[in-house]
């Protein structure tokens, strides 16, 4: 009888610990996601300034600039819509357009010499890094959360306790970031 009670007590204690651990991780996941969101907002705010200050010098790259502005508008709209897949796709497109703009700006020595553009470029690199590190941290936490739910014996109780695996921040299958890079080596 006593043994039975002890076993029951241990089981209850284990359940409580597991439940609390999972709740902690779920909140960490939510917080990590919020961090990505903060950085994405920052990027949206930065872009109009950037485009404005490089427009004069990069007038031959009108197409690239247009694409950045369009991608930003789409991303902001997706952010207000709140559909996770939509956000990931649009933000992915924006990341790619900005990457192209940064790469092209390397060709303009005048731009590099310009103090305010240099500051803006540093800000942009910073924001891009922040986004990718926030994403990396989010994915790490999600992986931890999901693994914790899927290991034996927690996997038998996780769904019962109301936990479900969180989604990783992945690029959608049709994302432009996924496209193969074309390298032209002919001279």
């Amino acid at each position: 009888m006593i043994i039975f009670a002890i076993v029951l007590l241990l089981l209850a204690a284990w359940l409580i610990f597991t439940f609390n651990g999972l709740v902690g991780l779920r909140n960490q996941v939510a917080n990590a996601f919020r961090q990505i969101d903060v950085q994405l907002k920052r990027r949206h705010d930065l872009i109009p300034n950037l485009v404005e200050s490089v427009k004069g010098e990069m007038k031959f790259e009108r197409e690239t600039l247009e694409r950045v502005i369009q991608a930003r508008t789409a991303a902001v709209a997706a952010g207000q819509g709140g559909n996770m897949n939509e956000i990931m796709a649009k933000e992915g497109a924006l990341t790619q357009a900005l990457g192209k703009l940064i790469a092209l700006s390397e060709n303009y020595p005048n731009l590099k010499a310009n103090e305010s553009v240099k500051t803006l470029m540093e800000e942009l690199t910073h924001t891009e890094n922040q986004i990718s590190f926030a994403r990396q941290f989010y994915n790490d936490i999600v992986t931890k959360f999901n693994t914790k739910q899927q290991v034996f014996p927690t996997n038998m109780f996780a769904a019962l306790l109301g936990f479900s695996p969180a989604t990783l921040w992945e690029l959608p299958a049709d994302s432009p970031e996924r496209e193969n890079v074309k390298v032209n080596l002919s001279i």
């Binding site: 990590a32 540093e122 800000e123 590190f133 990396q136 941290f137």
Partner: protein
């Protein structure tokens, strides 16, 4: 070995050395209590009482290892003091100043990189400081991740590009994330306590107090005199070597934490190559970092004394160095970057 395996193996090594360290401290401390203060782990032993004519348990020594406890308290107190006041004192002694957002391109970049690494680690951003020194070095300090500091020298800011700076800051961020300040404080407390005991043992005139006492009380410790003397001689030898042994153990832990900080720094940036090229630049600058005191050497990216000891990869030099030889660190990072495939050689 990938980044995670490397980290796990470094953590295991730290724990193993820590166990040896604590065992060594107990050996020295309890030995002192046993030989000098009459501490006995089995305090009640039956002895004949001639007056009453019956057996009565008589305490043959102190039941508590007072010496060990006092030494640990003093050592711990000093270490705790350095933990609480250390960061402020270190910053003052290095004449570090706070990095400002409007202090030029490099300073803004440094601040940005620090906040990026905080994001990658999921921790609040530490305060960023700059040490006015032309050598290439960096250090981190602080009790907890919420209240910590990362400082780099002016020379490091001037000579490294953005990605290399990121690698260095990631290494320092990892020291904070892995609570290395606390690990090294525990080491310092043990080292201080051992030094205290060995100093006592060397100065006290009651050398061999227990062995002589043992032979005088006669019947209680029959024939134990010879064995006790031998034990005492071995213990005294250990006490004489204790300061250097405890230093070796502490330095072994320090080197293990460096490998760990390299590996978890690489995990933060997912870019071991940047840290490799930063380490190569830092290695090429052989000058000592004059502004940084040796006391914080274990929190720096490289030994502030310059590469004098470090480049001698001899056995003895290795044993007493705070940092592993740069060559081995770079090799370990190359293994993580899948550029080298000699995991055996990458370990100590």
């Amino acid at each position: 070995m990938n980044i995670y395996e490397q980290q796990a193996s470094n953590r295991r090594m730290t724990a193993a050395i820590m166990v040896v360290f604590i065992g060594f401290f107990l050996l020295i401390g309890l030995g002192f209590d046993f030989f000098y203060l009459g501490y006995s782990p089995f305090p009640t032993e039956a002895s004949y009482n001639p007056d009453g004519g019956f057996y009565q348990p008589v305490r043959s020594g102190l039941p508590v290892p007072i010496g060990t406890i006092i030494a640990l308290l003093i050592g711990g107190g000093m270490a705790a003091n350095s933990l609480v006041n250390g960061p402020r004192m270190v910053l003052r002694s290095t004449m570090a100043r706070r990095a400002l957002p409007d202090g030029g391109d490099k300073e803004r970049q440094f601040l940005n990189v620090v906040s990026e690494m905080a994001t990658a680690a999921g921790l609040p951003a530490p305060a960023a400081y700059i040490v006015p020194d032309p050598d290439l070095n960096a250090f981190a300090t602080g009790m907890s991740p919420g209240n910590s500091v990362i400082a780099v020298t002016q020379g490091l800011l001037d000579n490294l590009n953005r990605e290399e700076l990121q690698g260095v800051v990631a290494h320092e961020m990892s020291h904070i994330r892995n609570y290395d300040m606390r690990v090294m404080t525990v080491c310092a407390a043990l080292m201080g306590a051992i030094a205290l005991i060995s100093d006592f043992a060397g100065r006290t005139s009651r050398v061999g107090g227990r062995t002589s006492g043992g032979s005088s009380s006669g019947s209680s410790r029959k024939g134990g005199g010879g064995a006790a003397l031998l034990l005492f001689v071995v213990w005294i030898l250990l006490v004489i070597l204790a300061p250097i042994i405890s230093r070796m153990l502490a330095m072994a832990i320090s080197r293990e934490r460096e490998y760990l900080a390299d590996a978890s720094g690489a995990e933060l940036t997912r870019n071991p190559k940047a840290l490799i090229s930063a380490l190569e630049k830092i290695r090429a600058a052989v000058m000592p970092t004059r502004a940084i005191n040796n006391g914080v050497a274990h929190m720096c990216i490289t030994d502030p004394r310059g590469s004098l000891v470090e480049e001698k990869t001899g056995f003895i030099a290795d044993l007493l160095a705070t940092h592993p030889p740069m060559e081995k660190r770079i090799l370990a990072l190359k293994v993580m970057a899948y550029q080298a495939d000699k995991p055996a050689a990458a370990r100590i």
